[in-house]
Symmetry: C2
Subunit: 557 residues, 2 copies
């Protein structure tokens, strides 16, 4: 027997737990591996659930990737479903387990223990919270219940509490099933990991798809009918009809078991681990949604529960628990979500997060094509980049659009992992052919724009800042440099209009003592106008990054 | 006037030249910028041309991105089309130019000169090469002539000479137009930048689409009819009917002008430049397809002519020529090409290139899904990774498949730029949601497989090596561990069949003194079988990387 002992116990049977089990078996043929889970199902695809509800995924079997007999037969791994770990005794190296079916207790000795207890949805203790048809979405049982309700054809209206990633995926999939959806979000924006300016673009799209979105409002109570099914959601300001409610306000790590055993957790309640996924208890590892990680951009602890991270953590813990040596260095906060026709991604930290962390920052928003504009099917994406002014290192990116966003998110995720500067990103040798990208990929274009701002070659201002200044009634010239017909189709209230090709000959119409902010459709002509005015001796000029394509504050005709 | 002088002359008006001109104008408002080109068109999309011929791009205007009046009006850049630069006088800083329309000479003084003369197709001096309907594809005139021929409806058969990227794009687009295409390639594989094993997968696909591919054969002559149009192509072994011929055997840099002026070129004939794109002549820069670069994986000079590189080089030269400071560090050999339904990409160096460079290498081929297998539209890709055995640094990747390849190529391109190890790639925080990727992205799965091989945890063998050993009549057991029905549907000749779930109980059927190579459909069960046999005390075991999905040498039933 190898020196890592005879018994490996894993608590939790979804992504991290089963990955750890399978990898441990490959590393150590003779190890006794036991997986304990209080759930009836293991190894299921939590991230696919919204799409099963939306009937994009037709067969529920597709959500269950593997069943216990597979692990026993193929890998000689014992999986105890409906067995709840009730206590961990670190000194005697034992896990106390309750067999929920036979209602009896057993004790599992371990030489190595991997905690993969996951996370659970937060259920606020509001009046009426126990009514029928108020759902969370986390387990196979959850998804089967929601799907059955939707399939019944009786659900006409749904309220989704919480406008995060799951909330948006559910808004899309319930809408696809013909249900009128209202999303209620306590914050002043949906998709809280994104900056508000980017989230507003998604919000506009979702509302165009028929979803009502209410922000800055909180749910306070639920009311039901005589048979105990929810009918109404009461917010602080409104009363909303609801045949069903999805609670997606967030999740919290399942770490009470670990805490009770004296295993250290963080302010996020997630279990503290080192790079080897070791907890403070000897021979005890924690992986997946119950474990903390490190954000490689801030260098600080971060708890970002994702299936992708869970699988990697599970693998690392398995290697270390079987006598090997592997490390999970951390995450860069990568997120991707499909929201109707939009691809929405984020990586690194947002502008607001960067400001909170005290970084001196410069940002830009750049619209660009996802492939050569002359190739059929080319679509726009809007890229926001945030960089450190002093080091010129990229801090984060947010991408929203109908075009391919996940590719660019992954390029930036890779670049952030290696601490890339904006200049290094601008020189990346990215794949180019018309069906795949522009000659200068959208990411490179955006990095060049930000590089110019960092070097002081251009001075830009983000659309939301312009909107704030207009709201405050500040005095400046907002200069629309688009064509006459573009201007007439809709422009920002109070702007002055001089088409770009007339600008050089009409600069006398502009007051040199006033601040001028140029805008166009996508930002390129605005930047050209910026240069024309600077060359004509105007000193106080800015151009609006992303211009109308990034403007979410309304136009007038 | 800034100290970078008054006159910037740029020779060449396509990607690199026009990018340099536009960027120089933004950097320096008062500079006199003149672009000289012998062509009638500027700023055109060379990479889009095959798709215009295939009628994927409908409007020829879409191939011309900008015309001279735009540059004059918007940027005050003088573009002299149909003006051929005939000599560069480095001492007196002058370019001699021939006006091809008015048939007169002029002299342009320069303070800074940017050479962007591009490259031209190689036209071999074979008998009959001047016949009608023998085309190259490089300029707008080329593409208009080919399109007109195809539109005439008289082209029934085409021979494409050269099976590189352009050859494959043309094979697809001519086939789309109903023309029977034969590709003749002198080497023993198409797509020479790829390893042969990966190229064979593309070749099989292309042949299934009705294209005939002849490798290891060279064109020797052309024969025509009485009106001087080509009718027949003679190779060393064959005689092929051809209503039209596309010559796509390669390109060479247009550097005679530079060489005559004493500007240093390399063995590739491309102009030698430093990171600032400076040539050995003072204040003379070279950019685009006529300029050399550095391959960041080998650290050696490389000439890889691409529009993406041209644009980046043009920008760097413009910044430096206008008194700024920018650097183009080099390329990582990134390529992408659509070939019918396949996406085909390469980055870094191939296995064969790595061996030639003397790297101690380990490789793998891993099939994987491009998104979660349960999400509709998920497709396979086949990933080949090549790494340095000593440093564990990745050296290159090749990806072929109907699934999304360009994303993974770009992730690897970014990772290679920063000298990533296989282990670092396996830990990347890549974007995960079912519509975009598997929980462990295909690249991470492949990196883990290669990591196991590098660590000696598994011993794999590439399919082409198995085929070579079978061809040599070597003795070993080829063990098919798929199901009965999979086996019956087609297996490798001479294999032994034991399904994976029976393997542990049937190891007595195998001779412990013989080498055993396991295979399955995609490699996963083959690796499991490898572990089962190792655990059962078999010492001489390998598994076949990629297995049947990467096997291109035929099956029997």
């Amino acid at each position: 027997m190898a020196n890592h002992g005879k018994y490996l116990v894993i608590i939790g049977g979804v992504a991290a737990g089963m990955k750890a089990a399978a990898k441990a078996r490959r590393e150590s043929p003779a190890l006794k591996i036991t997986v304990v889970t209080d759930e009836p199902f293991i190894s299921y695809a939590g991230c696919g659930m919204p799409y099963f509800i939306g009937d994009i995924i037709k067969d529920q079997k597709k959500l269950i990737l593997r069943e216990p007999p597979y692990f026993k037969g193929m890998h000689n791994i014992d999986v105890l479903t409906r067995h709840q770990a009730t206590a961990i005794d670190i000194k005697s190296r034992q896990v106390k387990v309750r067999d929920l079916e036979k209602e009896r207790d057993l004790t599992l000795p371990y030489d190595k223990l991997i905690i993969a207890t996951g996370a659970q949805p937060i259920v606020p203790p509001l009046p009426g919270i126990s009514l029928e048809n108020i759902f969370t979405l986390r387990t196979i049982n959850d998804v089967l219940k929601i799907r059955a309700s939707v399939d019944s054809g009786k659900m006409r209206t749904a309220v989704i509490v919480g406008g995060g990633l799951i909330g948006m995926e559910m808004a899309e999939n319930l809408t696809l099933r013909g249900i009128k959806v209202t999303v209620v979000e306590l914050l002043d924006q949906i998709l809280p990991p994104l900056d508000k300016d980017m989230a507003l673009i998604v919000q506009k799209h979702v509302m165009e798809k028929g979803v009502e979105i209410i922000t800055s409002d909180g749910v306070q109570a639920f009311e039901g009918n005589s048979s105990g099914a929810v009918t109404t959601v009461f917010t602080s300001k409104r009363q909303l009809p609801a045949d069903m409610v999805i609670l997606s306000i967030g999740i919290r790590p399942n770490t009470k078991l670990a805490q009770d055993a004296g295993i250290a957790t963080s302010t996020s309640r997630a279990i503290k681990v080192n790079e080897r996924m070791e907890t403070n208890a000897p021979d005890v590892y924690a992986v997946g949604d119950c474990a903390e990680s490190v954000h490689l951009v801030t260098g600080k602890p971060a708890w970002i529960a994702l299936g992708s991270t869970a699988a990697k953590m599970g693998r690392v813990a398995a290697i270390n628990a079987t006598g090997g040596n592997d490390a999970f260095p951390g995450v860069v906060g990568t997120l991707i979500v499909k929201v109707f026709e939009l691809n929405v991604g984020k990586v690194g930290i947002s502008e607001q997060e960067a400001l909170k962390e005290g970084f001196p920052i410069e940002s830009t928003i750049v619209p660009a094509g996802d492939k050569s504009h002359y190739y059929p099917g080319a679509r726009d994406i809007l890229i926001k980049l945030i960089a450190d002014k002093n080091t010129r290192k990229l801090l984060g990116a947010e991408i929203v659009g109908e075009g391919v966003a996940d590719k660019r998110i992954d390029i930036i995720a890779t670049a952030l992992t290696f601490g890339a500067t904006v200049d290094q990103i601008a020189k990346l040798d990215l794949a180019y052919a018309p069906p795949y990208a522009m000659a200068m990929d959208a990411i490179i274009v955006a990095a060049n724009v930000l590089g110019n701002k960092l070097s002081g070659k251009t001075v830009g201002i983000l659309p939301y800042e312009v909107a704030e200044r207009l709201d405050r009634g500040e005095r400046f010239v907002l200069l629309d440099v688009r064509t006459e017909s573009e201007y007439k189709n809709g422009h920002i209230k109070g702007c002055k209009h001089i088409p770009l090709d007339k600008l050089a000959s009409r600069t006398h119409e502009l007051n040199r003592s006033q601040e001028i902010i140029t805008y166009c459709r996508a930002g390129l002509r605005a930047a050209n106008a910026y240069h024309i005015l600077k060359n004509a001796g105007f000193h106080n000029v800015k151009y609006m990054d992303g211009s109308i394509l990034a403007w979410t504050h309304g136009l007038e005709k």
